[in-house]
Symmetry: C2
């Protein structure tokens, strides 16, 4: 008995369209329930991991016309509900899509319409404001005390999130062989945790750039509280305006917002900012091959974002007189980080609802759960690229120094 | 007093042409001596590290028309002689060229004429034969007992060449997490040292491919002597003809001979050869940015060779459903390896002369010394890329396992 034969015979035109949609996305092991008729639709013969309830015909029509964008919108509004584990649901969708191969003509047309937002100086400011200025109180609910909104580093499977965020900063500082007195420029410093860590634990002098007003204000308060104002300067400005020469360039989780069209300029900024023996590290979400960010994420969560493939990342380094020393893929660390964020988010969900509304609660849940799934299935990667100026020969022979006892 | 003023006022047209050549290659700190007139020409005001004696007018004219190719040819024939350290001489030429920027129109035209030889199945066989079938006796004079003709790995600055070649094989096996019983396919196995090491030290079953008749014959004799015929099979065939499924794909020092136009096919071969949880490693000479191999090396030493940039290497992995886990740049290890080879070569130079003639002695000396300089100045890199199939989640969290005590 094959999958098609076992599937409920669709009696309505809506059910038949949904069947076709399921086939086009690779027959994932899920079923749809049409809320207004009670019909169930599936195409996969094995146990189905989730049921997706569609509340009304308008939601269904939107979903068929543009499934990638409208699923998330319907889920946020509550006209689409998922019964079953949300992470596992997104994961089976991703796995099925990998098997399905080429996209439908309609989806390709829709992709063309969903152009990423431009990252001009002005555009970047707007794009960053939309995500990062939701409020420090909101982020502190689920990021924890480090206020680190990037992939953590788990030396062991049982490491806690907070310890893993500190371990990530130490891993980055070790890779950069950070020494007391080193001058560091950081591009995209978030709430300032890495800059403050570099100054307090390694004795570095840090200038940290960020265009998010709320994050910079938070970072400055932290710096003052910790008595680090003499060694850390937080600058509310774009990375393109970095001036001066430094021993170290570091950027953790900014490249996703830079946009491919600006990689050449980023490379020139980095090269210009480094002394001849300078070192640098760029940490970014990436891809195994070039592909657009999921349209719903790009439109509703991270406007203007684009995670590059390694070949694309090399367009920063190769034209700029920089030499790549080391690349590490930390994909499974981001899956763990996101699981920890999702747990904390769910524990604090009543507070989130009180701050915003149920739509934001659901939207953020789908974003976090979907991101766990994206890293677990290999749809997204996390690359740390360590580099130096091309003429620098002061390079340790082995990477053992990155792994102290 | 500036460089131009200090330079000997050129009295002949030949000397004036040589001066122009020196300026066009970035004013390296060397001087020319015209053998038939006794004139000296230089443009650099500081201490000159070497003197280049040109024996006759025909050699000079060749050098001015196509310096990159004709320098090596003249040096091989002995009509160009270098007084001073040969490695340092090539190194200052490379450093000056980096400063000089864009190439002359003539050099660019010459570059177009020097197309790399094609790596069709037939072409590869011919290209490989020309280099690797010079005779096992010749290579054993300076490679040492490992007969490893690729970059070694020096855990410490004082490691010997022979120990570093074994350390390289262990570093590769560790990265691949090689286990007893694992099936391995090796593409481009040289004289078989890695295949035999994987079988004897790690208990792997290895099929190793190579199109060099002399190397395969040597490898088979070694395998029989070591009693490894039941676990290692040496196949005299092209990597494109690899069949079957394996736990591990490995290729050390073959990619340089594959040719960019074949990277997509190599990626498909690798993906097809790996089980779903398979791992792989490709080790290759590379570049910080795309550039042709030095024309003299490409024509006289390694026909058809091309060391890729990382972005170019990614064309193997990105279209093929493979995920890059780790990239390590071992550039300074190859500089050390080549210094060790050059020392051994000079110690055995009388035997080389007896096997061939003075021309080959000088040609090979320039190739080895020039390669030391290329890695020391950062003209060439050495990349080890570790990867797995995109769906594989059986990945160690950290790279600490690569650095056992």
């Amino acid at each position: 008995m094959n999958a098609a034969a076992e599937s409920a015979a669709p009696s309505s035109i809506e059910a038949r369209l949904l069947r076709r949609l399921l086939v086009s996305v690779g027959n994932p092991p899920i079923e749809f329930l049409l809320g207004w008729t009670g019909e169930r639709v599936w195409t996969h013969s094995e146990t189905r991991v989730a049921q997706v309830r569609i509340a009304d015909r308008a939601t269904l029509i939107g979903l068929i016309r543009d499934p990638q964008l409208r699923f998330g919108d319907g889920y946020s509004r509550g006209t689409i509900e998922v019964t079953g584990d949300l992470v596992e649901f997104v994961a089976v969708m991703y796995r099925a899509a990998r098997g399905a191969g080429s996209k439908s003509l309609v989806q390709r047309l829709v992709d063309v319409l969903h152009r990423p937002r431009r990252n001009t100086l002005e555009g970047s400011r707007d794009n960053i404001h939309r995500h990062y200025d939701l409020g420090n109180d909101f982020y502190s609910l689920w990021l924890g005390p480090s206020m680190s909104y990037t992939c953590a580093y788990y030396p062991a499977p049982t490491t806690t999130l907070d310890a893993a965020q500190i371990a990530k900063m130490d891993h980055v500082c070790r890779k950069l062989r950070l020494q007391p007195g080193d001058s560091v420029v950081e591009a995209g410093c978030g709430w300032g945790s890495l800059a403050l860590h570099m100054a307090s634990r390694y004795g570095a002098r840090v200038r940290a750039f960020n265009i998010s007003k709320e994050q910079i204000a938070y970072a400055r308060r932290q710096s003052t509280q910790l008595g680090l104002d003499s060694s850390v300067e937080f600058v509310e400005d774009d990375y393109r305006n970095i001036a001066g020469k430094y021993d170290v360039f570091v950027s953790v989780g900014m490249l996703e917002h830079v946009g491919r069209e600006n990689y050449g300029e980023l490379g020139r900024v980095v090269r210009r900012a480094l002394h001849s023996g300078g070192r640098g590290l760029i940490h970014s979400i990436g891809r195994n091959r070039p592909a657009r960010l999921h349209p719903w994420i790009e439109r509703r969560i991270f406007p203007g974002a684009y995670p590059p493939s390694l070949a694309e990342m090399m367009q920063i380094f190769e034209p700029s007189g920089l030499s790549v020393l080391d690349v590490e893929n930390l994909r499974l660390h981001y899956a763990k980080t996101l699981r920890h964020w999702l747990e904390r988010y769910e524990a604090a969900v009543d507070k989130v609802r009180a701050m915003f509304d149920d739509k934001l609660v659901r939207m953020w849940r789908l974003y976090l759960a979907g991101s766990v799934a994206a890293f677990e299935t290999g749809v997204l990667q996390l690359f740390q690229v360590l580099f130096t100026t091309q003429e620098n020969n002061e390079i340790p022979l082995t990477r053992r120094f990155m792994y102290p006892d």
